[in-house]
């Protein structure tokens, strides 16, 4: 697997990580090395195997439909760097 700069920029964009131009090449070669590690997956014989997403075949546990959480907005908003009038604030978004 080889990666070019455009691919690195695309992934970084999907992950919302700013990458400076002068970091791009070292990041690219780093990632490429890690991706080479994954070539090993192709060598495993996984014919007829179902993917395993959860370690045990346990069913999902559900909760009853009961309201147990009450207003803690003051506490939550105090953790935010920017809030006003009960809202979290972000730079203006245009739809």
């Amino acid at each position: 697997m080889s990666l070019d700069h455009a691919a690195v920029r695309h992934i970084a964009r999907l992950a919302r990580l700013a990458v400076a131009d002068d970091q791009l090449e070292s990041l690219r070669s780093d990632l490429e090395r890690v991706l080479h590690l994954f070539d090993d997956l192709a060598a495993a014989n996984v014919d007829n195997l179902a993917p395993l997403a959860h370690p045990h075949d346990q069913p999902l546990s559900l909760r009853e439909d009961v309201v147990v959480d009450t207003d803690r907005s003051a506490q939550l908003l105090a953790l935010a760097a920017a809030s006003q009038g009960g809202y979290y604030l972000v730079p203006k978004v245009i739809e």
Binding site: L14, H54, E64, D65, D69, L77, G86, L89
Partner: protein
């Protein structure tokens, strides 16, 4: 204005699929114990889970799953014995985790179908590809702040059932008829309050056009978050015309997400949406597969109410009601149940009951702006009134007056009839006296009638009714009048 009937567009076929988001009416959210009540102060119904506090985990709401199963059974779909919650990854400020928990490859409800009556009288069968559970996002408030957007996470995590139709609708009218049918069904089942103003029922419309029904599907656009039947109709009509015009001008359609602007009745591209989204769906590692036992499905199936379509068909086939009456009665379950309760007290009088429910009751509800559940005249009270009408105690006209009094809270039908002395005069002696007096007062008209002007019968009916203050039994009055007028 239907694009299909425009001459310039006659060669074009529109292809429409709807993704309807029905908010499931649970008390708490899909994955947290915060309330789903509408209209609270911002972020006061935001739990640690809803704001994606580090370390918190989602736990699904059993009631939301039950409601999804009920919908699936109602559209005759298979309920997946095992379905999978998946993460849809994208960044947006109203999406606190950076992903939405949805269902992707294995939805809880598989393919089903729904019969839809279009306004022009046609009945179409609409294929529903799937319905899946997912959480709603929060709300962005753009106009309250100067250079910022405010984020309210009260809605974040509210349970939604996304109902995905196949692209089998071919006009705005069909799309709206389908949407109305789904709207009726989810309210009928009691799984969604259907409140479109509050966003409890909204839809994304996928629209494309092609030259004739055999051509390959054209490039589609998606109109996001339309929340009224009228807007859906307008948005789709606009979009069909826009696409046809563009193609006829040699332009191509760009696959994109668009927003409907109700003020201008136009759609426009959504700027904040990226052209090439890559949502990186994968099974949510916090949530093992949702396993639904056959016994649970059977229990829901047994508890399912008679569905609107079945009930409509029964009203026509068994009760002999006209299609239009059956349609209107079955537009919502409360109306249909009210009708049935009235009918239960008056066996065999389906048409009479329907007339009153769709006539006086509906008109008064409409005027008062209330739902039938809040009607001041109960089904039992209406049945009492109609029984007096049936046994000839009062006339139809008097019945309407009594109904108005009942609506105004003056009591039950019998009490009002007694108190006002409205019981019909069916005593032929008393009636004969009244008729004799009327004929004596109007000798010229009597002569005229006897000379062949039989239309004057209504004049004598009116005069006698006036004299008896409307209490004459109309049938008996007609008969007696004819007799007296015939005998010179």
């Amino acid at each position: 204005m239907n694009a299909q009937v425009q001459p310039a567009a006659s060669a074009w076929q529109a292809v429409i699929g709807l993704e309807i988001h029905a908010q499931l009416s649970t008390a708490s959210k899909l994955f947290s114990g915060a309330s789903t009540a509408y209209g609270a102060e911002p972020n006061t119904q935001t739990s640690l889970v809803d704001c994606a506090m580090p370390g918190t985990l989602p736990v699904p709401n059993r009631e939301a799953v039950r409601k999804a199963i009920q919908f699936g059974l109602a559209i005759d779909a298979a309920i997946a014995p095992q379905s999978v919650f998946a993460r849809k990854n994208y960044f947006y400020p109203d999406l606190p985790k950076g992903y939405q928990i949805s269902q992707y490859e294995l939805p809880v409800v598989g393919a089903g179908r729904l019969r839809v009556r279009v306004d022009d009288g046609r009945v179409i069968e609409v294929e529903i590809q799937r319905a899946h559970l997912e959480e709603d996002a929060g709300k962005s408030v753009h106009d309250a702040f100067h250079a910022e957007t405010g984020i309210d996470l009260n809605r974040a995590g509210t349970p939604l059932l996304e109902i995905v139709s196949a692209p089998v609708l071919h006009s705005a009218a069909e799309a709206v008829a389908y949407m109305r049918t789904v709207h009726t069904l989810v309210r009928w089942l009691g799984i969604c309050d259907g409140n479109m103003q509050e966003g409890s029922f909204r839809c994304d419309c996928n629209v494309s056009v092609r030259r004739g029904s055999d051509a390959p599907l054209g490039t589609r656009t998606e109109i996001k978050n339309v929340n009224s039947f009228r807007f859906v109709e307008k948005a789709i009509e606009y979009e069909i015309e826009r696409q046809i015009r563009a193609l006829e001008n040699g332009e191509s359609i760009v696959q994109e997400t668009r927003l409907y602007d109700p003020a201008r009745h136009q759609t426009r591209p959504m700027r904040s949406k990226e052209s090439a989204d890559d949502y990186r769906y994968f099974p949510d590692p916090d949530l093992p597969p949702l396993v639904i036992a056959a016994a649970d499905v059977a229990r829901e199936r047994d508890a399912l109410p008679e569905l609107p379509q079945a009930r409509r068909e029964r009203y026509v086939a068994v009760l002999g009601l006209p299609d239009a009456d059956a349609d209107q009665l079955c537009a919502d379950r409360a109306t249909a149940d009210y009708f049935e309760a009235v009918l239960a007290a008056l066996p065999g009088q389906a048409k009479l009951c329907a007339n009153w429910v769709l006539g006086e009751v509906a008109a008064n509800l409409n005027e008062a702006g209330i739902e039938i559940a809040a009607a001041p005249v109960s089904a039992a009270a209406l049945a009492e009134l109609l029984a007096r009408l049936r046994d000839g105690s009062i006339s139809g006209k008097i019945a309407k007056d009594v109904f108005a009094a009942m609506w105004a809270g003056e009591g039950g039908a019998d009490a009002i009839i007694e108190a006002r002395g409205l019981r019909q005069i069916s005593d032929s002696g008393a009636l004969a006296a009244a008729i004799a007096a009327v004929l004596a007062e109007h000798p010229a008209q009597v002569a005229d009638y006897r000379g062949g002007n039989e239309k004057l019968l209504q004049f004598f009916v009116g005069q006698t009714m006036k004299r008896t203050r409307g209490q004459a039994n109309p049938q008996q009055l007609n008969e007696l009048l004819r007799q007296k007028l015939a005998a010179p």
